[in-house]
């Protein structure tokens, strides 16, 4: 299968890339790792007139801790994040998710920003960003703006990104107290999309109560979902098995799974309940060790 013809541009600066997008708008499409976009081109689901390859732009794949945040460049690859000690220390949910994305070969090319901008509801990163309270930095020729992950996803393959904008960085606030997180994914086999995925982030206060709980859900709605009712029930609560079980029930009640080849809606809802409970317990273990 061949992609349809396109005009290929490989700018070597972000400014140049943004200028190309400003000129072409909807006619242009940005190429990061290509592990979602190239299959879409081959299947002719996408046929941009201009393909803007971001791969020659230096400095967009960094990982650094600064100003109480973990900052990850949009072009950081999944395998790079899976191997990063800084990500493991500052964001265990991201560290747990990275090695579960697709397969090892896809992880050598696929990028965090590409996955988020693609906005597949079965994509793993969106749930992690929602759970961790991440802010996404969107750049255009006209400037920059920051959008919370909870407001970035708008529906199936739909985000807050304007056609003239690029996602350049994610900023994950570093927890102030003991914290933990994880990502649990049910898949039929390596490389399959998630049947269900659950990202959890938990932060404790000085008294050992829950200061903040973040829960993101994969593949159980038109986009990565925030389990808002579960998060609110946990805030300020004691981190008990009962509280975690109730959070699981609330998350399962609030999601919108569809029956498909990967399982019935009822089954997926049940997995959400179990994975939220287990994920919170695992996050608590990590937090108490930290």
């Amino acid at each position: 299968m061949y992609p349809p013809p396109f005009d290929y541009q490989a700018p070597d600066s972000l400014e140049e890339a943004l200028a190309i997008l400003a000129e072409h708008g909807y006619e242009a499409k940005a190429l990061a790792g290509g592990q979602s976009l190239i299959p879409l081109l081959k299947l002719r689901f996408a046929a941009p007139a201009v393909l803007v390859d971001l791969g020659r732009i230096p400095g967009l794949d960094g990982v650094e801790a600064a100003d109480g945040e973990l900052r990850i460049g949009a072009l950081a690859r999944h395998n790079q994040l899976a191997a990063s000690p800084l990500v493991a220390e500052r964001c265990p949910a991201a560290s747990a998710a990275a090695p579960q994305i697709a397969d090892p070969l896809v992880r050598n090319l696929g990028t965090l920003g590409g996955s988020l901008a693609h906005a597949d509801p079965a994509g793993d990163w969106g749930s992690v960003m929602i759970a961790c309270g991440a802010q996404l930095v969107l750049a255009s020729a006209g400037g920059r703006r920051t959008v919370p992950a909870t407001e970035f996803f708008r529906g199936v393959f739909d985000t807050a990104l304007e056609p003239t904008e690029l996602l350049t960085e994610v900023r994950i606030p570093s927890p102030r107290g003991p914290a933990g997180g994880t990502y649990l994914k049910l898949e039929r086999k390596v490389g399959d999309f998630a049947t269900v995925g659950v990202a959890v982030s938990l932060e404790l206060d000085g008294a050992g109560r829950i200061a903040r709980a973040g829960i993101g859900l994969t593949a159980v709605g038109p986009q990565n979902l925030r389990a808002a009712a579960a998060e609110e029930a946990l805030a300020g609560a004691e981190p008990t098995a009962e509280a975690f079980a109730e959070a699981g029930r609330l998350a399962a009640g609030g999601c919108e799974p569809a029956s498909d080849v990967r399982g019935s809606a009822e089954y997926k809802r049940h997995v959400v309940e179990v994975y939220v409970r287990r994920g919170l317990a695992r996050a608590l273990e990590i937090a108490r060790r930290s």
Partner: protein
């Protein structure tokens, strides 16, 4: 568009359409048909090559993205007319049945052994988890990868 890709150590400069996939650049432009096209949808790993040493699926990369970079295909494993220890090990352990997945499996093994000279069975299975053997000959593929690692370690001790 003119690109230069170093393939198995030789700089290859060609004028290509931007939409040309790397796997077709290797097979159709350079005639290196050891890289196979299997599923053509990023699933099976038959088209695996090493890009700057890391295994990737060449059906899901444009040739223009490889401009200025180094690609290793199965044809690049052979050295001075001698089979690479990984190729020898696949032969000895019967790590292939129909052979369609074999080039990809061997290239993944090469990258794995370079970063982990003594991989466990689980580590080998993890490394090849993006490569499908539809004959289901995984047991011998895993044995072959571990035998190759052992032989490469021994050769390094001997030298």
């Amino acid at each position: 568009m003119e690109i230069t890709v170093t393939v198995n150590g030789t700089a290859e400069t060609r004028d290509v359409e931007p939409r040309l996939l790397l796997v077709h650049f290797l097979r159709d432009v350079l005639g290196l048909t050891g890289t196979h096209v299997g599923c053509d949808t990023t699933g099976c790993g038959a088209c695996t090559v090493l890009l700057d040493g890391a295994p990737i699926k060449s059906c899901t990369l444009l040739a223009v993205q490889a401009d200025g970079r180094a690609v290793t295909t199965v044809e690049g494993l052979i050295e001075n007319g001698q089979l690479h220890p990984i190729q020898e090990a696949f032969k000895e352990e019967h790590g292939l049945q129909c052979g369609f997945c074999t080039p990809g499996m061997m290239l993944v093994a090469k990258a794995l052994i370079e970063s982990n000279p003594d991989p466990s069975e689980e580590e080998v299975r993890w490394a090849i988890s993006g490569n499908v053997c539809r004959c289901t000959g995984y047991t011998n593929i895993v044995k072959a990868c571990r035998r190759a690692a052992a032989q490469i370690r021994q050769a390094e001790v001997a030298s």
